[in-house]
């Protein structure tokens, strides 16, 4: 199962919203919670609509628009999104309005926009796209499930072009809440030095990254998404390695042919070990990159990594800011994105030259 990546749109804690700039000047944050850098939204959405939109709705719809423009496809055959928490701000706003007013004097706007499929619905309304529309909400498999659905639609010939995206919206309340179950680092760090502190926990982030997947070959295409695979709650490192070996074998590629591996290193000493184990056993001769120091950890962070992989192949450059150690090979033909979220949701994406 494969499809080409024809366009991208990425709003993140870095200046990624312009497809011309590829992580040239990265921003360092002196906080453990990262938020996106906003593009000028009114360039993409009319001000009347904009006023009613929550932050994530702006980010999602705009990232989708950037992707549509970039791909040159005006009307996709399907719109699919993935998100763990959905529309955080509107969910919190509506929840607090219930709790603080004892269920009285409640207005529906935040409720309407709190649904996880708000962005896929809004994009469809914006485009008048009456085709397939879905939203996946399964933690670290949310974006991956959306991608899998897209690849299947293309293979079934039920769609030629699929607009697929992953989004997540961070908040102070999420930070406080999940701090209580030990997800975040206790000490404040500098985001670009994420991997330097060998301590438990990571930093939180957010983002909205959309892709136009297509079954059609075109010189405009960025890269080929060969396949992806998910692994749920592996019990041992050996299980991860064997799953990954099966995945590569199925796609007729040897570990030695992977020029670059993008690891989902989150700086959490408790869960980063598997990345080092796999690198030592399978990818000693491949170059290594990482990305969560740029965007933070969130359920759909792998979408940021896929955006990076597509751009590395298209622009034939590995930005210095993402290089883990060894200098990458001069030509990158095959990239493996290897990510996991909280040692529960493991995913592998194989991206190649067209």
């Amino acid at each position: 199962m494969k499809a080409y990546i024809r366009g991208t749109g990425n709003i993140s804690p870095q200046r990624t919203f312009s497809n011309d700039d590829f992580l040239g000047n990265v921003v360092s944050y002196e906080t453990n919670m990262l938020f996106c850098i906003d593009p000028v939204y009114k360039d993409f959405i009319n001000p009347l609509q904009l006023r009613r939109m929550s932050r994530t709705l702006r980010m999602g719809v705009t990232a989708a628009k950037i992707c549509l423009l970039d791909s040159g496809i005006e009307m996709p055959d399907a719109v699919i999104t993935g998100t763990g928490f959905g529309c955080t701000e509107d969910t919190e706003k509506f929840l607090l309005s219930i709790l603080n007013n004892n269920e009285q004097h409640i207005t529906p706007t935040a409720f309407i926009q709190s649904t996880h499929n708000t962005i896929s619905g809004q994009v469809a309304i914006m485009l008048k796209c009456r085709e397939y529309n879905s939203t996946y909400v399964n933690r670290g498999f949310s974006f991956e499930s959306a991608l899998l659905d897209s690849l299947m639609l293309i293979e079934e010939k039920n769609a030629e072009n699929v607009l697929v995206g992953g989004f997540e919206e961070n908040s102070v309340n999420l930070q406080t809440t999940f701090g209580k179950v030990g997800i975040w680092k206790k000490e404040q760090i500098s985001s670009l030095k994420l991997l330097e502190n060998k301590t438990p926990g990571t930093i939180s982030g957010e983002g909205s990254a959309f892709f136009m997947l297509t079954g059609k070959k075109d010189e405009h295409n960025y890269a080929l998404l060969n396949d992806l695979s998910m692994l749920y709650k592996p019990k041992t490192d050996a299980e991860v390695e064997s799953h990954l070996n099966d995945f590569l074998r199925k796609n007729h590629i040897n570990p030695s042919e992977i020029d670059l591996v993008i690891y989902g290193l989150s700086g959490d000493e408790g869960t980063d070990g598997i990345y080092h184990t796999i690198r030592d056993s399978l990818f000693k001769n491949s170059a290594s990159a990482y990305f969560k120091h740029l965007c933070g950890e969130y359920y759909t962070a792998s979408a940021f990594a896929l955006w990076m992989a597509a751009n590395i192949i298209k622009k034939k450059v590995v930005p210095q800011s993402v290089v883990l150690d060894a200098k990458p090979a001069s030509e990158i033909k095959n990239i493996l994105v290897f990510n996991h979220n909280r040692d529960i949701n493991y995913s592998f994406m194989l991206v190649s030259q067209c």
Binding site: E103, G121, M230
Partner: protein, 402 residues
């Protein structure tokens, strides 16, 4: 890709029963599960009607076979109970060498726990027993709890397309089997009644203060419900080889988008028409082959108008027998497609059509009268089941006798 996908297991828990047998007997007896709210702690308790599952959270823990509550929400428990019934009824056993997946759906996820303890969650430094519910905050928690309780490991995901969620779960499950990615999929959905949804729908002013009246001229809104419905999907080839009981085949499905408004369907039902007609094309059936439509039929002004118009457009003057079962269970949101898939399978298996309760007078806009009495010993070969949701998501499924 040519694999045919069949249903080999059914599981359901709703306001009208804890399992398939109890639901079936309530459906036949015209026994509604909608009463004034009694279990959920809300200011609407005793005032607004809803289809609650008639058990406390503690009783659900027991029904689900959970000995210690380490953070199980009502939603996760409902999902575990119905998914387990489906899994067992398909003859599945834990640890079999079949690639098995779970595709589940929910709209509120762990909101039931979150809304109880949220002010504690967000107060910096505050700690206590509530911490065990934090990881159930999102939609993915119930998927993991259901999968882990059944030993499902090969694939898990969750869908939230509002009220069409679990119809889409069946669709994805079938496609995963057709693509040869999995051998067996437990597919369906679950939602629990929460203050979040009650107040959300109440603020939209689409809740009926009495029992809902789907497709009636004087309908004034929906009743919310809660529950879970799951089916087990397998390839026809595997099911026949293993001598499984086959309830029906999933012969057609389609997911389309109304692309009209975030919460309201278009009056002419453009998306609904598209999803029904595309599902029909896929099944290879003709309009006259459909024996029964289990309509979405929420009893809101706009849904029933939109759905009825779409049915009239597709079927012309010969709209098949139809009924909404929402006056039994309430609108169970992300669970409705799964629960109604189970009801559709029962309809085919027993050649029976369930009545649309509370209907008195037909709507002015079209000449559509639902089935209002139980019809037994009627030929039910093909059932169309509709699920429509916020965001304009429209999904239709077609179940057929083998």
């Amino acid at each position: 890709m040519s694999r045919r996908v069949v249903i080999t297991g059914l599981g359901v828990i709703s306001a009208i029963g804890d399992n398939v047998r109890e639901n079936f007997s309530s459906l036949k007896a015209k026994r509604t599960g909608i009463e004034h709210i009694n279990i959920l702690q809300t200011i609407h308790k005793g005032i607004l009607p809803a289809g609650e599952v008639k058990h406390s959270d503690e009783e659900l823990l027991q029904l689900a076979g959970v000995s210690e509550n380490t953070g199980y929400t009502r939603l996760a428990l409902l999902g575990m109970i119905a998914a387990r019934e489906a899994f067992i009824s398909s003859g599945a056993k834990k640890g079999e060498r079949k690639r098995t997946g779970l595709v589940t759906a929910t709209t509120v996820g762990g909101m039931g726990g979150t809304e109880k303890y949220y002010l504690d969650y967000i107060e910096p430094g505050k700690t206590g027993d509530f911490v065990k519910y934090i990881n159930s905050y999102d939609c993915g928690d119930s998927a993991e709890k259901i999968a882990d309780s059944l030993g499902i490991k090969d694939f898990i995901t969750s869908i939230n397309t509002a009220c069409s969620s679990s119809a889409n779960a069946l669709m994805l499950g079938a496609r995963l089997i057709k693509h040869g990615r999995l051998d067996r999929v437990v597919a369906g959905g679950v939602d629990a009644l929460t203050k979040f949804t009650i107040n959300g729908f109440n603020s939209l002013m689409i809740l009926d203060k009495e029992n809902c009246k789907p497709f009636d001229k004087n309908r004034t809104g929906l009743n919310l419900g809660e529950g879970a419905g799951y089916v087990v999907l397998e390839s026809l080839e595997d099911a026949q080889k293993e001598g499984k009981t086959i309830y029906c085949e999933l012969t057609g499905y389609a997911n389309t988008c109304d692309a009209y408004h975030q919460t309201a369907s278009s009056p002419e039902g453009a998306g609904a028409y598209l999803s029904m007609s595309k599902a029909l094309v896929m099944s290879g059936l003709k309009v006259e082959d459909i024996d029964y439509i289990n309509v979405h039929g929420t009893a809101t002004q706009i849904n029933d108008l939109s759905e009825g118009n779409a049915m009239t457009k597709l079927f012309g003057g010969n709209v098949p027998k139809f009924s909404s079962t929402k006056a039994y269970t309430g609108h169970t949101l992300g669970a409705s497609g799964g629960i109604e898939a189970v009801f559709s399978a029962l309809s085919i298996q027993n050649n029976i059509i369930f009545p649309n309760l509370n209907f008195k007078e037909k709507m002015d806009e079209f000449n559509l009268v639902p089935v209002t009495e139980l019809e037994e010993n009627v030929r039910v070969r093909n059932v169309l089941s509709n699920s429509f949701g916020f965001g304009g998501n429209n999904s239709s499924l077609i179940f057929s006798a083998l």
